[in-house]
């Protein structure tokens, strides 16, 4: 994965040559030349199918496709982000399998992981773009500031310019993390940098959104593997997320769901309900409105996920999750302080009501005063 990045001493021309020889090989050939048995490869494919939430019946197809896949060049751009997405990815738990996947891509630019810096790094990016124009995969994490370009620059290039320039020759773009996909935390109210997502700026390229803060590592690698395996982008939902991972809500796949249905809730973090593992809805769980694979893919070697650890879902794979009125406010609660609103309204309305009532009364009284008695004479007229 890091041959270009580690080969600082080689000239760019040498690197290109090296790259070409590797790009010409299929993944199957590369693996066999490394002495990896077909059986190991099958194991890898089984793990991959599981990771991509695909039916085990797909394993032979994945094996066939991967054996004939060629290494794509990958350029990874990081904008207004915290590197959490990269941290998540590099700690992907199925280390052996991930290393195989990374062996099968050529990560040509990633300014956090690469040894080169400054102009040398930018040169690597430019060479990769030139060599693989129209074929490389662009991965982006972080949002793009549209207010003042100076908020975030790399080697003196604004995030916007770098994204637009690099996106031109990309076969597809993978937006990784909620910042790149929907603006994320930089976009949170009042959005001081004017942060926007990749999808806000680029309309003419296929974009795969892989949101999450951070996304589940196997989801990132799963999307990469899908692209590698099938050379196409997976089926996406209405906000650009791959359906295999984001097709079901946390709530629908949650093992605590039966407690919700029965009306058994933890009221606080340390009550009997919390200890018994009851539903966390009342503690602000955003599981019902959040689509992600946490409940089945889980985190940390498939150990657990936030709800299993006793914390409500904060909905990090949804747009504007930061502005939902608080992580501990249940979904059915209003986000504003309605009690205050109600009191002020009641006071104001009471005053208005009294005034209106007084007006009506005086109207009534004057109407009564204006009444004159009707006599027989009047009726006879």
């Amino acid at each position: 994965m890091t041959d270009r990045i580690n080969n600082k001493d080689k000239s760019p021309a040498d690197l290109v040559q090296l790259e070409k020889s590797r790009l010409d090989k299929t993944l199957g050939e590369t693996l066999r030349s490394q002495g990896i048995s077909r059986r190991s490869f099958l194991k890898f494919c089984a793990a991959t199918a599981s990771m991509m939430a695909m039916s085990p019946a797909m394993i032979p197809k994945i094996a066939h496709a991967l054996e004939n896949a060629r290494r794509p060049s990958v350029i990874w751009l990081s904008f207004q982000e915290c590197t959490g997405c990269t941290e998540s990815l590099t700690r992907a738990h199925a280390s052996t399998v991930e290393s195989l996947i990374f062996d099968s891509i050529s990560l040509d630019y990633h300014h956090t992981l690469q040894a080169a810096a400054g102009h040398a790094a930018e040169e690597a990016r430019e060479i990769a773009m030139e060599e693989n124009y129209g074929k490389y995969l662009l991965v982006v994490d972080g949002s793009i500031p549209m207010d003042n370009p100076g908020y975030s620059t790399i080697a003196g290039i604004s995030n916007y310019d770098m994204l637009m320039d690099t996106a031109k020759g990309a076969a597809a773009i993978i937006a990784v993390g909620t910042c790149a996909t929907y603006g994320g935390i930089p976009h949170a109210d009042p959005n001081p940098t004017g942060a926007v997502s990749v999808g806000d700026l680029i309309k003419d390229k296929p974009i795969i959104n892989v949101p999450g803060c951070p996304p589940i590592p196997v989801v990132i690698t799963g999307v990469l593997t899908h692209f590698l395996t099938f050379g196409s982008i997976p089926e996406l939902d209405h906000i650009g997320r791959p359906k295999v991972f984001y097709g079901q809500s946390i709530h629908d796949r949650c093992y605590r769901r039966p407690f919700y249905d029965k009306g058994l809730f933890a009221e606080t973090f340390d009550d009997e309900g919390a200890k018994k593992g009851w539903c966390l809805y009342k503690l602000g769980c955003k599981g019902p409105t959040t689509y992600n694979a946490c409940a089945t893919a889980k985190w940390n070697d498939g150990t657990s996920f936030p709800i299993e650890a006793g914390h409500p879902c904060i909905g990090c794979s949804e747009p504007d999750f930061w502005d939902g009125g608080g992580f501990y406010k249940a979904l059915s609660m209003p986000t504003a302080n309605i009690t205050e609103t109600a009191i002020y309204t009641a006071a104001g309305a009471a005053a208005a009501g009294v005034a209106l009532g007084a007006m009506n009364r005086s109207k009534k009284n004057s109407a009564a005063a204006a009444h004159s008695d009707t006599t027989i004479d009047d009726l006879e007229k």
Partner: protein
Amino acid sequence: MSEIEFLNWVRGPGFQIAVIIFIAGVIIRFAEILLLGRKTNLAEAKGSEMGGGMRTIVTRSVPDKSTLKRSAFTIVAGYIFHIGLFVTIFLFAPHILLFKDLIGFGWPSVPTPVVDAMAVVSIIALLAILVHRMRDNVLRFITTKEDYVVWLLTILPLITGYMAFHRIGMTAPTLLAIHILTVELLLVVFPFTKLMHAFTLVFARWYNGAISGYRGVES
């Protein structure tokens, strides 16, 4: 506007606007009704207004035999959907949380499947009432446009709530947002339509009872 933005709006400013209109509307209408006062009754009192009034508030909840015979369907279906509305609005755990957030205390909920069943029963009852109303010549004649609007705004939160709970047709955030929005619509029109009967029925019954009580007769 993304679906989460939509949800955040209905949970935030949207709900605030609806609550302001609802509370202001209800209070102003009440003030108007109560401050208008009633004509002084010059006749001599033959009994207590309070006793008759209070009794009637309760007794009018039970339909008398002849009325029940005449409009059995309206009364039974009406009771069913009113009880259904009460259970779904006030005894569903997420709704209780909302009230707790507003008034500082909550009460026990009933199991979700019960609420679910009540919602379905209420929807069926409301639909049946509409069909009955449109097929009956007299009822159709006395029904105004406002009545149809009110009917629609009452059944919508039930339907959208049912859809949001079972996630039918759309994504969860959109369904939830639509459900909250329909409730907000109901709140907004509430003070200015016949929906006000939820509050005014108590006063109306009291007046009826009080008049009879004053005369010393049973209401």
